[in-house]
């Protein structure tokens, strides 16, 4: 059975960064994203990004607009990763 997203490339290993010659505001916020792949869970993603699976709640809190149940994330879903 073929799924519509089957042939979509996997961008979950994309590494990103940024910098600026401008000053930083006092309450500077830098946020990046992570694309969920099969087998991922929020704690696995937190472990992968922060090195601490216990920080999954930070990812959950940053994505409450799209994640209603923290145990229900799906491949291809793009999550905001705060403070990474």
């Amino acid at each position: 059975m073929a799924f519509p997203d089957e042939k979509e490339p996997d961008f979950s290993d994309v590494e990103s960064g940024s910098s600026s010659s401008a000053a930083k505001p006092k309450d500077e916020v830098v946020t990046r994203t992570y694309t969920v792949v099969g087998g991922d869970s929020l704690s696995k993603i937190a472990k992968k990004i922060y090195g601490d699976g216990g920080r999954w709640t930070e990812i959950f809190d940053a994505n409450k607009d799209t994640i209603k149940n923290p145990d229900m994330i799906h491949p291809g879903q793009v999550l905001k990763i705060p403070g990474a």
Partner: protein, 154 residues
């Protein structure tokens, strides 16, 4: 009784008047130096002036050599040049792939520019970028300010 001749009287009055005129006036105070008018800078509102793509940046964050085509193992840099000042501007780089605009990456950065500035965003994919067409959309405080198309070729 002693009388004065009118001519003598005139001479006396003239002498007194002359004496009064000859009285030295105190020298006028030196003129107070007037400070040169200083131009009050008009605050320039923040504005993105250009977005360039390339494979590397310099210390000034600017792209060393602009490019629109990349190899699968390249790191792709976007340098966003801006002018103007703002207490806080949120820049966002939204990278997508293909006609379906599949999200590749999205990153935001808050800046507080006081004048011309360059902000860079970069992405890399250790396993290699899929060949195809990509798009970068840059927004400032939620408003799209520029888009750049580029391609990854083998």
């Amino acid at each position: 009784m002693r009388t004065f001749h009118p001519a003598a009287m005139l001479a006396l009055v003239a002498a007194v008047a002359l004496g009064a005129c000859a009285k030295k006036e105190p020298p006028p105070p030196p003129p107070t130096p007037v400070p040169a008018p200083t131009a009050v800078p008009t605050p320039v509102p923040f504005k993105v002036t250009s977005v360039d793509l390339g494979k590397s940046i310099g210390e000034d964050k600017k792209i060393k050599e602009t490019a629109a085509a990349f190899a699968p193992k390249d790191t792709i840099y976007a340098a966003i040049s801006s002018e103007g000042a703002a207490a806080k501007v949120t820049l966002k780089a939204h990278w997508t792939f293909g006609a379906k605009n599949q999200v590749v990456n999205e990153e935001t950065r808050d800046i507080a520019p006081t004048g011309p500035a360059v902000s860079e965003f970069h992405i890399a994919k250790p396993s290699g970028w899929p060949v195809g067409k990509y798009k970068l959309e840059v927004s400032a405080d939620g408003a799209s300010v520029a888009t750049k198309d580029f391609e990854v070729k083998k």
